[in-house]
Subunit: 365 residues, 2 copies
């Protein structure tokens, strides 16, 4: 079988895939409502929040759009912290819907510089919200969200968090860190196929929502809340994904969130030390390296596309390319969700065999 | 096993459910691209179109929002033909995004009156687009889309069609009828779980898109087109639903579209004659009665919620309630997708047993 080691979709355990194959039920039935009630309660435990948590049928990008259109009005000034493709995507969505985005950009591979954020909050008038990518999937960097959130709250701004590839894998105590809207997606650390975005909405976010004038219908939190009061969704949900999520959440709670976070930390370390043992270098500074995705610099002279092809065809391992201007310059190992150190060992072993074939001598180190 | 006879989600054949349980693959891989190419080509055959056809991860309502935001600008005048809950939903979405909607409403249970549409097109200046629900799921009415489209094109307006519960089940030759954007959803006649909206985009719709100023990102046709050129989707798709759709479309093409349409016509007739044989009356005029959903007037004195409960608990048959002001006044039998006359016979037999228990004497007829 192929080893899928991209940062999403992630491989699903057999129990989860079995749930995907369940026959359809009425999404307005007590059976569905009972499942939704448990799923929502379990999500809240893993989000570490007492805030509202909603399921929206769509990809993570749909979830980002939901965050934007539910909390902002055209013309609102938003400080957007970006150091990668997903930070840029959050910016683009926000601009498309007419907000006045003040981008604060950092080199790809670097984290958000908290002091620069402080400076921006100090000097830039009328900022309404700060948006940040907790874990930048395109570069393998995890930002210091605890420090960022503490600063954003010191200045009493709304904090909108893309936690698509971190939540459920990397510690993100939503309430403790006062995050107002936090969004993730089923195909990441949750071990479930794509199709659902999940997000939390704080009291401050509800206040922002009440005056937010961006046009919205499908993603509208007011509708989501109204139907959640009867444990339903306003529109027909991806029922199979809810079945699967229901099973995956039980598995996650059985393992325990602290254990899941520790496992991802071990797996992340294994990926980084494995890569370095081959003589390769990491894109991200290790102090900020992500425990869910590792971005590796393509060694000089090695065609990374060719490398991924050899891994795929000769080792049945699927890694991910770089994105945007990093295409061909890096490759990425996804290690979130259903993953252990053993899976990473396989990747490192395969790289050790494949790299010399492509002319990389450093692999002998 | 429960017989799910609601107008979506519809039951899925075992082959389709098996496909839902397939392990994840990279949505940027050749394997996925090959599948997307076949799915798109097969969808075009069943849409009877040479237009672009896209898959969007979301519910049918998300697909409706995609139609609106991709073709219109705030302030555009739109003639909206409505005679049920889904016609109203299309109106609401269009209004939320700032269009100037001219609603042309008909009684629920009645079809769109084509002469009234002619009158409106004649008298109402500056109409840019006409929107219509081909098959009104809330009332079990199929509108005369051939006549409506011919009229709309006589006046050279854009035609936006909600065909969520008709396409693939009821004849809708997209190109022959000059429909500009037509939207459907996976959980309807396609025999696939919910999670995907599918839609076609004509050349005229592309022209409208080029100047359409409603804000959009997630649903943007330009992005969909750009990625479709490499047989991908811009954002992570509901991969499992694409697996399932791939299998279902092959099954549909094997049966053949004319046979599928004929089967739905037979099933629709069986539902209507069965219901009448029990002494019950139909909400819709039979000349316009839908072949995918039948709305039945609750007999005087019978609590329709209680009736559905008895059917569910004693006969393992799940029917649908009425919507909006028809709650408690009608119940609905869904018969689209994986359904034959035998399935309808079971429903009628169960109704025959259940109705007298609730005090309906006409059932003896």
């Amino acid at each position: 079988m192929e080893e899928l080691r991209i940062p999403g979709p992630t491989p699903c355990p057999p129990e989860v895939l079995k749930a995907m194959a369940k026959q359809m039920i009425n999404h307005r039935s007590e059976e569905f409502e009972g499942m939704m009630e448990a799923v929502t309660a379990n999500l809240k435990r893993l989000f570490q929040t007492k805030n509202d948590v909603f399921l929206l049928t769509g990809s993570g990008t749909g979830g980002l759009e939901a965050v934007v259109v539910n909390t902002l009005s055209p013309g609102d000034k938003v400080l957007a912290l970006s150091s990668g493709a997903f930070g840029e995507r959050f910016i683009t969505i926000t601009q498309k819907f007419g907000a006045d985005v003040v981008p604060l950009r950092f080199d790809w591979g670097k984290p958000v510089d908290v002091e620069a954020v402080r400076q921006a909050l100090k000097t830039e008038a009328k900022i309404k919200a700060v948006m940040v990518t907790h874990n930048e999937t395109s570069t393998g960097v995890t930002n210091d969200l605890a420090a960022i959130s503490s600063l954003v709250k010191e200045y009493d701004k709304l904090l909108l968090v893309d936690a698509i590839s971190s939540l459920g894998s990397i510690d993100l105590p939503v309430d403790k860190w006062n995050c107002d809207v936090v969004v993730t997606a089923s195909q990441k650390g949750w071990m479930v196929p794509p199709g659902m975005a999940m997000l939390s909405v704080s009291q401050a976010a509800w206040k922002a929502h009440a005056v937010a004038k961006m046009p919205r219908f499908y993603w509208d939190f007011t509708q989501a809340k109204k139907y959640q009061d009867k444990q339903q969704t306003p529109w027909t949900p991806a029922v199979s994904v809810v079945f699967a999520l229901s099973v995956a959440l039980e598995m996650m709670l059985k393992e325990g969130l602290p254990n899941i976070i520790a496992r991802h930390a071990r797996v992340g370390r294994a990926a980084r030390s494995g890569v370095k043992s081959l003589g390769l270098s990491l894109l991200a500074d290790e102090d900020y390296a992500s425990n869910t995705v590792t971005a590796v610099n393509s060694p000089a002279g090695v065609d990374s596309e060719k490398l991924l092809e050899v891994l795929r065809e000769e080792h049945h391992i699927e890694l991910a390319e770089g994105q945007a201007h990093l295409v061909g310059k890096i490759f990425r190992i996804g290690h979130l969700g259903w993953v252990t150190e053993k899976d990473i060992e396989k990747v490192i072993k395969a790289l050790k065999v494949a790299l010399p074939k492509l002319g990389f001598v450093g692999a002998a180190v």
